[in-house]
Symmetry: D2
Subunit: 350 residues, 4 copies
C-alpha cells in the first residue's frame, strides 16, 4: 500500500483544479477504502470546476470532487462485513442520515440531512476514495467496468423512468445530456412503445439516434408539439421526462404531455420557470414528479438487474476516455458540447 | 306542466343577467327534464356575471348559467331507464364525449371534448334543466336538499382530498373558499391528523374554524411556514391542497409541503406562476397533481357514502339562502367577501 | 350480400358441433355486422365442444361459439358513427352492462352483469358476427391479421403482466398455454430481467423456449423452487403469473414468489385449492390478484401500441391454421396437447 | 439500580411459566435498557404458555416472553444517541437484519432473517428489557401509558387498514380479537363509511359494538353475506380485513368482498384453507394482501399521529389490568374467551 495518491483537487475558492499527490485517506471502523478503477464526469463537476454561483454557495475547498466511479475494495474497517478486499464495487454517494422522517419511512433519497461524497466531502477523482459500508454497492464481476463507473447517473435515469408505469406507453425525453440519453435506453427496455427525444444540440441529437430514439426532434427547427401529437393520434405523450432544466425544454415538456399524463422532472434549473397552472396542470389533470437521486436501494437492484440481463446498450453515451491526469482536457471537451459522458482512469486509459 | 319557466339569463355579451320567463326546454330520447329544487352559486357564475376576460372567451350568450343543483325528475325521454318522474337527483355537469382516449380508459373527468352544462349550454339557474341520462346522479331521499345542491363543489373537494392517501397524515389547505372549506371536512373525516387552514380573508378564516380546522393561519400576520413546521416536528405537511389559485397561496403551498409530500392543485389561476423547480420540486421529491372536476363516477359514490354515513358537517359553508329572483343580491354578497356558498330557490326560500 | 352463412353450431345439449348454413344475423341500430376474416380457438371452446360440467351449467344451445377474431365491417346500424364498412376491426367480447357499480367506476372488466359474445350469445365461428358499436376495436391495417385474431387472449396476457410494475423484475410464468406463452413475450417487452417458464408438457416447453424464456423448467424433473431461487440470489421471483389453473402450478406459484412479491392469477381452476395462509401469504406479505378479461379499454390501447411498435413476436404460439370447416380437426389437435393457438379461416386458409 | 428483577419465565419445554428473580440483562453499545411500565398480552403468549405445536417448533426455553410494552429508558449503551434515560418509549419488536433484499428496498417488515424479541430472545414480561437503539420508538409523554403498551397490535391494525384506500369505503372485519377491534376504530377514523363486524363470540361482539361498528353480525345466527349485501346496495364490502384465521371467518371474507375489492389477511391460520380460485378470486378480480407486522417505521408514524390527534378511542378493548405476578390469572381469563387485551404491571396495577 502506497502512502500517497494522485488526486484532482479544488484547492481554493476559484475556478479550475490542481493535480496533486495527497495522503491516502484514513477511514473509520465502518468504512471501506476503494481503489478507483474508473471515474466519470458529471455536469456538477463542471459547475465546481467553473466555480459558478451554485458552486460558490455549496462547495468548501479544499475538496476532491467526483461522485461517479467503480473500483476494487483495498481495505475495510474492522466492523465491515458486507465486502472484503478485491471485491468489485460502486457506491451510492448520497449519504443519508438514517434518522430523519424520510429516512425512517424508506425515502432516504430525499433525506433532510443528506451529504454527498464528492460534493460535501472528498470524492472519487483520485486513486482511492473512502465510502461508508452502508453505501457500498457490490457488483457482479460480469458488469463491464465502463458501465460500473456510470451507475450514479444511470440510476438517475432508472429512478426517473420507473417512477410510474412505462410499458405500452409513449415517452418524450426533453434534453439529451447523459441522463437523458440513458433514459432513452431504459424506457425502451421497459416497454415504451415510442420514445421521442427533444434536443437542440446536434451532437446530442446524433447520440439520441444512436440510442434508438424513435423520433429525434430539434426544437430550433421542428414543431415539436405538432410532431408528437401527430405520432400519438393527437393524444400527446403518456410520459415526459424533463432532463434539460432549461426553460424551453420545460415549456416543451408541459406542451407535449397528454391529459392525465406523467411529467417527471430531473433536470436542475438555474432560472425561475413560469407556468399557467390552470392550462398547464389543472385542466390537463397531469401528475408532476420531482426526481432526486436514486431510491436506496431499490433503484440499484433494478439497474443491476437490467444491466446483467443485457437490456441496456449504453456505449454511445461514453464519448471520451481520458487519463485522470488529463482532467482539464475533459472540462474543455464538455464546454464544446461535443462530449457526453467522459470516463477518467487514475492509472491511464486501458 | 307549465309552458314557461323563470330563468336567470345572460342575454348578451355584457355584464349582468336578466330574469326572464322562457320556454321550458325540449329534450331528447335519452334526456331527463329536472325540476330544480335548489341551485347553488359557484365562483364561475360570478365570472360570467361580471363578464371578465375568461367569460368573454368562453361564454356564448344567450345562456342560462348554473351547474350546481338538485331537483326532482319531471319527465324522461323515451329511452331513459335509470330514473323516473319524482326521483330525487343531482347531476355531473361535465358531459364527456365517451370516445376520446381519456374517456375510453376511465379518465372521463379529463375528456378532451368535455362540455359543461351551465357554461357551454343552458344550466340550472331556472325552474327546469335538461340533463343526459348518463350524467344523472340519483340520490337517496335521506340526503338533505341543501347538501344535494352542492355536490358539484363537494365532489371537487372529495376528488382532491382522496387523490392520494390521507389517513394518519397532516394536511394544509391554502385558500378557504367553499371547496377549500369542504376539503377541511373531507380531510378530517378521512383520518387527517391535523388540518391547517391558510386564508387571508377574515370571514373565511372564521368559517375554517367552524369547519374544525386544527390551526387556522392568516398569512398577512402569521409566519405560515414556521407555524406548520412547528406543528409537524419540522417535517412540513404531508399533503397540501391548493384551493386559492392565488400566487401567494401557491407560494405557501410549495413552502409547507414536506419532502416527498403531495401537492394537489385545484384553485384556478389568472396569472402566470413562477417557481424555482430545483428547490421547490426536484430536491424535495414532491408529487404535484392537477385536479379537475370529479371522477366519473367514483367520486360520486365516495361522496354519497360519506354523506349518508353522516361523516360530513357542511352547514357552516352555506352562508346565504335566496330566492332565485334575487340573483343580483347574491352576486353583491359574493363581492363583499362575506358570503361563502349561496343557495338559490326557484320558488322562494323554504 | 348473401342471405346465409357458414357457421359452427352447438345445436343442442351434447358433445360436438355441427357445420350449418344459417341466416346472416340481423342487427340493431347501434350494432356492427362484421365479416370474419380469421377466428381463433380458446380453451373455453374446447369445454363447450366437449360439453363438460362447466359448459352444461353455462351454455344454452343452440349457440355459435367463438370469441376471438378479426374481420372487416360489412354493415353498420343507423346510429353507428365509430366505424364504417371495410374498416378492419376486432372486438372486446365481454359486453358490460354500463350501469352497475363496477362499470360506473371504470372497472367494467368485472361488471356484475357481463355477457360474453360466443358464450352467452352467438359468436365468431361463422362468416359474420354482430358486435355492439361500443365493443368494436378499430385496428390499424398495419397489424397482421393473424395477430388481430388473437387480441382477446393476448389482452389477457397484457392485462396480467401490466397489473403491476414489471421492468427490472424477475417473472415466473406457471403454465404455458397460449396466454402463458403470450405473457412471456409481454414480460420480456416490458423490461422483465429474467422470465422463468414452468410447464410439464414438452410441446409447450419448446414453445416457451421459442418465446425466449430465460429458463424453462419441467416440474416433473426439475426442482423448480431451487432453480428459481438459485437464479435470483435466493430471493425468489418478484412477479408470478399463474396461467395453469392446475393445483401443481398454483403450488409452484406460491413457492417461488418472493416475500413482498406479486402473484397474479388468471388460469381457471376446476378443483378446490388448499393453502397454508400463514406461510403462503401472510408471513411472506405477498399480494395476490385475480385477473379477469381485459381492462376496457386501457388494455386494448396498451396491446395495440406494443404490437404497432413491433415489441411482440408471437408467431411461435400459432401452431395450426385450418379452414373453419375443419373445426373438428382443430378440437382433435388440441386434445393431443401438441397444438397451442389454432386459427380458423371461414373461407379457407390463405 | 437493582441487580435482579422479576420476570415471567418459560423455563423449559412444557406448558406454563414461572415467576422468577433473574439478573437484570446486560446490553451492548447500541442497546437500550428499558424499565417496563406496562406490558400487554398477545395471543402468541398464550400459545407459548400452552406449549402448543407452533410453540414447540419455534420457542427455545428458557425464555422471557412478551413483545408488547411501554417503559422508561433506564440506561443506554455508549453509542446510543436517539434516546436518553427517562425518555418514554415503546419498541418495534421485529428486529430486521438490515442486509437482505427486503430490508434494502424498504420492506423490513418482511425481512428474510427477522428475529422477534419476546419470541426468539428475552422479551418484556419482566421489570427490564433490552432493545436495540434502531428499534426504539420514542413517545410523546402525552400518549397514555395504557395505549403506549399496545402499540404493537395497534400497529398491526393500522398496517392492515391503511394498506389501501379506505375513505368513502365500506369495511368488513371478520374476527374481533384485539386487532380486529382496533381495526374497527382505525377504519372509522380513516373515513370508512360503514364498518361491519363479524364475530361468533358474544363477549367480542359486545366489544365490537362498543368500538362503534355500524353493524355487528353473529355468523351462528345471521346470514352474514345477505346482511352485508343488503347494507351495500348488493355490491359487497369494498374492503375486508380478515382477523380470525379461522376457516369460517376466511370463508365469510371471500363471500362478502365485492368484485374488485381488497381482502387483507392478518389472522394466522392453524389449518389449510380451501378455496375455489375461479369463483373466489379470479372472476371477482379481487386483490388479496398478506399483512405481517408493521411497516418500519411508517406505520409507527401513522399510529402515533392518529393517537396524538385523539382519533382513536381504544379503551373498550382493554378488559383486564393485572399485576405481572398474576400472569397465570391472565392466561385463565384469556381461555374463558371473556378477556380481550390484558395489561400487566410489573410493579402492580396503578
Amino acid at each position: 500500500m502506497p502512502e500517497t495518491m494522485l488526486a484532482v483537487v479544488k484547492p481554493e475558492a476559484r475556478a479550475g483544479v490542481e493535480l496533486r499527490d495527497v495522503a491516502i485517506p484514513s477511514f473509520g471502523p465502518s468504512d471501506v477504502l476503494v481503489r478507483v478503477k474508473v471515474a466519470s464526469v458529471c455536469g456538477t463537476d463542471l459547475h465546481i470546476y467553473n466555480w459558478d454561483a451554485w458552486a460558490q454557495r455549496r462547495i468548501h475547498p479544499p475538496l476532491i470532487p467526483g461522485h461517479e466511479f467503480c473500483g476494487e475494495v483495498a481495505e475495510v474497517g474492522r466492523e465491515v462485513t458486507a465486502v472484503k478486499p478485491f471485491d468489485f464495487v460502486s457506491a451510492e454517494m448520497h449519504v443519508a442520515c438514517g434518522e430523519c422522517f424520510q429516512c425512517r419511512i424508506g425515502e432516504a433519497h430525499i433525506c433532510q440531512n443528506v451529504k454527498i461524497i464528492g460534493v460535501d466531502s472528498n470524492g472519487a477523482f483520485a486513486e482511492y476514495v473512502v465510502i461508508p459500508e452502508s453505501n457500498i454497492w457490490k457488483l457482479d464481476p460480469a458488469i463491464p467496468k465502463e458501465y460500473a463507473s456510470i451507475l450514479d447517473p444511470l440510476g438517475n435515469a432508472v429512478h426517473t423512468v420507473l417512477a410510474g408505469p412505462i410499458a405500452g406507453r409513449t415517452v418524450a425525453v426533453t434534453g439529451c445530456g447523459p441522463i437523458g440519453l440513458f433514459s432513452i435506453a431504459v424506457a425502451r427496455a421497459s416497454g415504451a412503445t415510442q420514445v421521442f427525444a427533444v434536443e437542440v444540440n446536434e451532437h446530442r441529437r446524433k447520440l439520441a439516434e444512436k440510442m434508438k430514439a424513435d423520433l429525434t426532434l430539434n426544437p430550433a427547427i421542428d414543431d415539436v408539439k405538432a410532431r408528437i401529437l401527430e405520432a400519438t393520434d393527437g393524444v400527446g405523450a403518456d410520459v415526459v421526462l424533463e432532463m434539460s432544466g432549461h426553460p424551453d425544454g420545460i415549456r416543451t415538456a408541459f406542451d407535449v404531455v397528454r391529459r392525465g399524463g406523467r411529467l417527471s422532472l430531473l433536470g436542475l434549473t438555474s432560472k425561475p420557470i413560469s407556468l399557467n397552472f390552470s392550462e398547464d396542470i389543472i385542466f390537463k389533470g397531469i401528475t408532476i414528479q420531482g426526481i432526486n437521486g436514486r431510491r436506496m436501494y431499490e433503484t440499484w437492484y433494478q439497474m443491476t438487474a437490467l444491466l446483467k440481463a443485457g437490456k441496456l446498450e449504453l456505449h454511445p453515451v461514453i464519448t471520451d476516455r481520458l487519463a485522470m491526469r488529463d482532467f482539464d482536457k475533459g472540462m474543455a471537451r464538455l464546454k464544446t458540447g461535443e462530449a457526453s459522458k467522459i470516463l477518467l482512469y487514475p492509472n491511464g486509459v486501458k
